[in-house]
């Protein structure tokens, strides 16, 4: 079993209302040092498959379903799952 962690971020040019609201909320409760917040997604997959194919398959999954290419960027890391 392999664990893949996908980091999904909004493209820089895209406005992030959740991030803006979070920035303002933090500043309001005393964290004036916070200049910007952007909120993305962290997707953790557990899947079977050989090491050689996983990278290509995960890229396909991202394009087919997980990522909105118009507004999001992504990168991912492939790691082993400790067997229990």
């Amino acid at each position: 079993m392999t664990k893949v962690t996908i980091y999904v971020t909004l493209r820089e040019s895209v406005v992030d209302p959740q991030g803006i609201a979070t920035t303002e909320a933090l500043q309001k409760i005393g964290y004036e040092e916070v200049k910007s917040v952007r909120v993305g997604k962290l997707i953790e997959l557990q899947l079977d498959g050989s090491e050689e194919t996983i990278e290509a398959r995960v890229n396909e999954m991202c394009k087919d379903l997980l990522i909105n290419k118009v507004i999001e960027d992504y990168r991912f890391e492939i790691g082993e799952v400790a067997s229990k």
Copy 2:
């Protein structure tokens, strides 16, 4: 300016409906190798402050606002922002 990346994940004991739906959707469109998906958050902060204080301040922000301790775990990384 310092960039802090916070990785927020649901605790293992917490059911993740979004992750279950994503697993089923991926399997349905041909990614049968996917066994589980869990969806968390990726929060990117840009903030001022000295290196020594940032770790403590970010921990406070997480406890005060960013994290729901009942259902979420978090970890974070501190990095420099390239000046533009």
